[in-house]
């Protein structure tokens, strides 16, 4: 059935994108921060319109995309990211470029790509959504045309991105060759009834797809682009990269691996690989982070470390059954949400700092507690949340996540993750030390943060503490979001109990 109403929130987002670009086209002299506020308004309308899908029967558009609670959750979160990032960009971009409409338009479009990565239940659709997000990001990373670092970052990102897309596509084609279908349900059915002679192709297919999405979420060893892209990109885009790109990647992984690959013990073929990637990612990210001098690179490597923790859950989903997978996914969604709130908080503060000082080194934060105590406090809150100290979002969500992912096969990765949390505490403390224990450079005076950034920082900091101390409501929401992921799996499992002939017939109707 062609139900076009499922796209309404993205019509709104797309509409605002066109509007923003049109306004600048006809009134080039308009103040660029007005465009940012308009974009934020669009994101708000987009997120609110998504809420109307709550509690409705899950709608699907010809089986290609699925509009269930999972999609709604990701929509609201995606719209929230665009909202914060566009406000964050307002003064940053106004001071640095003459044309900003494309920037804001692309932000909204990239958000739409993110949503359909989460909603897709078919490989080609998932791929197109992924590319939609990626292409927007390629341009956004290089948006500061006169800045060589920005252009270099963009080029590097495009080249490696194209490479990873190719791997993803090749993996898709192998899976299609084995299963004869590109829908997730069809793949799951076909994989559970496949002949053993096609195992090699399946495993290679899994691995290539894993490499493709691993690139998106910057898992080691597909992470090479991340530090350069983070460093070169405009600061708000670095925030967008480390939140939206990861959220989209994990939404796609969750949907794909739970819907298509996890059923009937299929996980055993890829779970070990995910576990190894998780271990490499968290260790590599954290160890390299220690040596960084530049704040953006530090955040890049620390976010690579964070991705490692999240991948543990994906490996666990492969080993467990549907009920286990559901709990683990709920905890993962909760953790990603907490991570996103903390990351945005950090970047709001860093943007405010950068607007004032144009300095993005760690040493540049010297004595911030004297010159701008609010920002120092906010940055500390965000970093403590990353390190997983109690009272901050990172502690509660990481605790739930590791607990829900605890399986005997994965004890070693979880132990490694706990160890890594300690390593990470070290370099976060090094940043905090700069702010609190050293005197500001000569001649530095107290300064004020712009009201918009101040309000966002305060709100997000309260959010981090709220999630840390009372995660209950958010967990309920994450649990509701994770439920539909495994419903299909459970239904499918019931189908598989039927004779093989009916299963095949059922799969061909898609």
């Amino acid at each position: 059935m062609r139900d076009y109403t499922v796209f309404i929130p993205e019509y709104i987002a797309g509409g605002f994108a066109v509007l923003v670009i049109a306004i600048e086209l006809f009134r080039p002299a308009i103040r660029k921060d007005y465009l940012a506020y308009l974009t934020a308004l669009g994101a708000l309308a987009w997120g609110v319109s998504a809420l109307f899908f709550l509690g409705k029967d899950p709608n699907s558009y010809q089986g290609l995309i699925q509009l269930d609670n999972f999609t709604t959750y990701m929509r609201v979160l995606g719209a929230g990211i665009v909202f914060v990032v566009s406000l964050m960009s307002a003064s940053y971009l106004r001071e640095r470029t003459k044309t900003a409409a494309e920037y804001y338009g692309l932000l909204l479009v990239a958000g739409c790509g993110l949503v359909y990565m989460a909603a897709a239940r078919e490989l080609i659709t998932a791929y197109i959504s992924l590319e939609l997000l990626s292409f927007c990001l390629y341009i956004l990373v290089g948006f500061l045309k006169r800045d060589n670092l920005s252009s270099e970052a963009s080029l590097k990102y495009i080249l490696l991105g194209a490479f990873s897309s190719a791997m993803f596509l090749y993996g898709m084609s192998l899976i299609y060759g084995v299963t004869g279908t590109t829908t997730y349900d069809g793949i799951a059915t076909a994989l559970s009834t496949r002949a053993s002679t096609t195992d090699a192709a399946t495993v290679v297919g899994f691995m290539l797809i894993l490499a493709g999405v691993g690139f998106k979420v910057s898992a080691v060893p597909f992470h090479m682009w991340a530090p350069d892209a983070y460093e070169g990109a405009p600061l708000p885009i670095t925030a967008f990269l480390s939140t939206a790109s990861k959220l989209g990647g994990f939404a796609l992984i969750l949907r794909l691996f739970s819907g298509a690959f996890a059923g009937n013990g299929g996980g055993s073929e890829w779970s070990w690989a995910v576990a190894i990637i998780a271990a490499a990612t968290m260790t590599g990210g954290n160890l390299v982070a220690i040596q960084q001098k530049n704040l953006k690179r530090l955040v890049a490597y620390s976010s690579i470390g964070q991705v490692g923790y999240m991948l543990v859950v994906i490996a666990a989903i492969g080993y467990g059954d549907a009920a286990f997978g559901r709990d683990a996914s709920a905890a993962l969604i909760l953790h990603i949400t907490g991570y996103i709130v903390s990351t945005l908080l950090l970047f709001v503060a860093l943007t405010a700092h950068y607007n004032r000082t144009n300095d993005d080194t760690i040493v540049g934060l010297r004595g911030l507690a004297e010159t701008q105590p609010f920002l120092a406090l906010v940055i500390t809150v965000a970093l403590f949340s990353f390190a997983g100290l109690p009272f901050f979002a990172g502690f509660a969500t990481k605790l739930f996540m590791f607990q829900s992912a605890t399986r005997t096969e994965l004890y070693w990765v979880i132990g490694l993750a706990v160890l890594n949390s300690f390593i990470s505490l070290y370099y976060y403390l090094m940043v905090i030390r700069q702010m609190y224990l050293f005197d500001p450079p000569e001649g530095a005076t107290r300064w004020k943060v712009s009201p918009v950034l101040w309000a966002m920082g305060a709100a997000l900091a309260v959010g981090v503490l709220f999630i840390g101390m009372y995660p209950q409501p958010l967990f309920k929401a994450a649990d509701k979001a994770a439920t539909p992921l495994f419903q299909q799996g459970a239904d499918l499992h019931a189908q598989n109990e039927m004779p093989a002939g009916t299963t095949l017939a059922a799969s061909t109707t898609h």
């Binding site: 100290l389 109690p390 509660a396 607990q403 609190y436 009372y470 995660p471 209950q472």
Partner: protein
């Protein structure tokens, strides 16, 4: 309800202090003082209102907090005979530490806010009855402590603050693993329920769980060899923080061992009790010997704390009701006495700006009041009869003698050592030839200084001459633990 007010009133005061405009920052100390006097009064009222005949927890507050997957956490506070005296100790020392730092002028808002948050976290530890809530309060103490030492400290303050935080986090990482394993094996984080359950079928052997918890608490107590953070933290911390650190923060370790290790896993505690006694005895002796050769006044008091907290562990090792009561009493007595001793050292340092024993001498002439307080605190520390420390030490030794007489003999030798180092220190600092370097310095001369010294000294005497006041309250709580150990 009373407990909620008690625990969170300082936190509210901290928020108020932080909201003060910069022009009014002088008000910070008054808000802190008002809050700490209020909680002191409240805790004293609760102490006398406490029903001593009743076992179990009183003033209970219990609310649903987090229910996520297999995490069922509650907001659950309560006090029993073990925690009630410790709550009073904490409020008394909070007031004392606010008063001794009444002259702090460097960034006073942040300073007093940190002190108040510290108070909230320690009070929370002593009355939290949900294991995760307990852990959160336990960790909360790190943030203000780090800042207090690193910003307002002296000497190698950053090094000491970082060392303190790393040691505690190292310990609490083990503790968290222990807590999670325990809680998931029983399906509850409720300390009261865990304290009545038979723990079996944990994911790792119960002996390991016990060890993990013990490491967490042992770092804080501190036990030899996990004690090396303590002298550094003490000597570089500002006076008020030393008072809080020695007075109540170390007690969190002893309280944790009694409340968690011994009550929840009595069987394992019984198996390991000889190790407790041995570590306790070694801590007493090692601490005593190291104390003898300190040249820095604050380090000296710090190492004497290691020795005195060894007595607590020795008493716990005996696992008899007399010894456990003695151990609890030792925590209270040591809290007040060492609090006073650090206070006196701090007041002296405020005037002379040195803690080097070799540079001091003959202060009894120049500062008679300070010297009197110092000698009094010293007598308390060496266990003079009629002062609090004596009762505690005697009770512990009496209770432990039957089971581990060798450990008691070592412990008693430790007490001889303490008489040695205290008297020798007094001789070098307070008596002896007068040094004219210090001639112009004022004696104890502010009302806040007088009130701290008088208040704490009075407490030391009360604990020394009327032990029944507290022992009657500790008794039923210890008997509950003993019933667990016996069964």
């Amino acid at each position: 309800m009373e407990l909620t007010v008690l625990v969170f009133l300082p936190a509210v005061a901290a928020a108020l202090i932080l909201l003060l405009p910069q022009k009014q920052e002088g008000l910070a100390r008054w808000i802190a003082l008002a809050a700490s006097v209020a909680i002191l009064a409240l805790s004293i009222w609760m102490f006398f209102d406490f029903d001593k005949g009743q076992t179990g927890f009183q003033y209970v507050v219990r609310k649903e907090w987090v229910d996520v997957g297999s995490f069922n956490l509650q907001y659950f506070l309560g006090a029993d005979g073990l925690s009630m005296p410790l709550l009073v100790l904490t409020t008394a020392l909070t007031a004392a530490s606010v008063l001794v730092s009444f002259s702090v002028t460097m960034r006073p808002r942040a300073y007093y806010a940190c002190l108040m948050v510290l108070s909230t976290s320690v009070l929370g530890v002593f009355c939290a009855l949900d294991f995760m809530l307990f852990f959160l309060f336990w960790e909360l103490e790190l943030f203000p402590m780090f800042l207090l030492i690193a910003v307002w400290g002296s000497g190698r303050k950053e090094y000491s603050a970082t060392k303190f935080v790393l040691y505690t986090i190292f310990g609490s990482a083990f503790m968290l693993v222990g807590i999670l394993v325990l809680a998931f094996s029983q399906g509850t984080f409720d300390i009261e329920q865990l304290g009545q359950a038979q723990i079996a079928g944990t994911a790792i052997p119960v002996g390991w769980v016990f060890l993990f918890l013990f490491i967490g608490f042992g770092v804080k107590l501190p036990i030899v060899p996990l004690h090396t953070w303590l002298p550094d933290a003490h000597s570089d911390a500002p006076t008020a923080v030393s008072v809080m650190l020695a007075g109540v923060l170390l007690k969190m370790g002893g309280y944790g061992i009694l409340r968690m290790c011994v009550t929840i896993l009595p069987g394992v505690a019984d198996d390991y009790s000889v190790w407790f006694a041995a570590i306790g005895a070694v801590s007493i002796l090692y601490g005593g010997f190291i104390t003898l050769r300190q040249t820095d006044l604050k380090r000296l008091v710090a190492y004497s704390s290691v020795s005195h907290m060894g007595i607590v562990l020795l008493g716990i090792g005996a696992l008899g009701s007399t010894a456990l009561m003695g151990a609890t009493y030792q925590m209270l007595a040591h809290g007040v006495i060492t609090g006073l001793l650090f206070g006196m050292v701090g007041l002296m340092y405020d005037r002379t700006h040195t803690r080097e024993i070799a540079r001091l001498g003959g202060l009894a002439r120049q500062m008679p009041l300070l010297a009197t307080g110092m000698v009094f605190a010293g007598f308390g520390s060496l266990g003079l009869p009629a002062l609090g420390g004596f009762i505690a030490e005697v009770t512990v030794f009496l209770g432990t003698f039957e089971r581990y007489e060798w450990a008691v003999l070592m412990g008693i030798f430790g007490v001889v050592l303490s008489a040695g180092y205290i008297l020798w220190t007094m001789q070098r600092v307070v008596f002896g030839p007068v040094r004219h370097e210090w001639d112009s310095l004022p004696d104890q001369n502010h009302w806040w200084e007088h009130s701290v010294v008088a208040g704490l000294a009075a407490l030391v005497i009360v604990l020394g001459v009327y032990p029944a006041l507290v022992m009657d309250m500790i008794g039923p709580a210890i008997n509950t633990i003993m019933l667990r150990v016996g069964s």
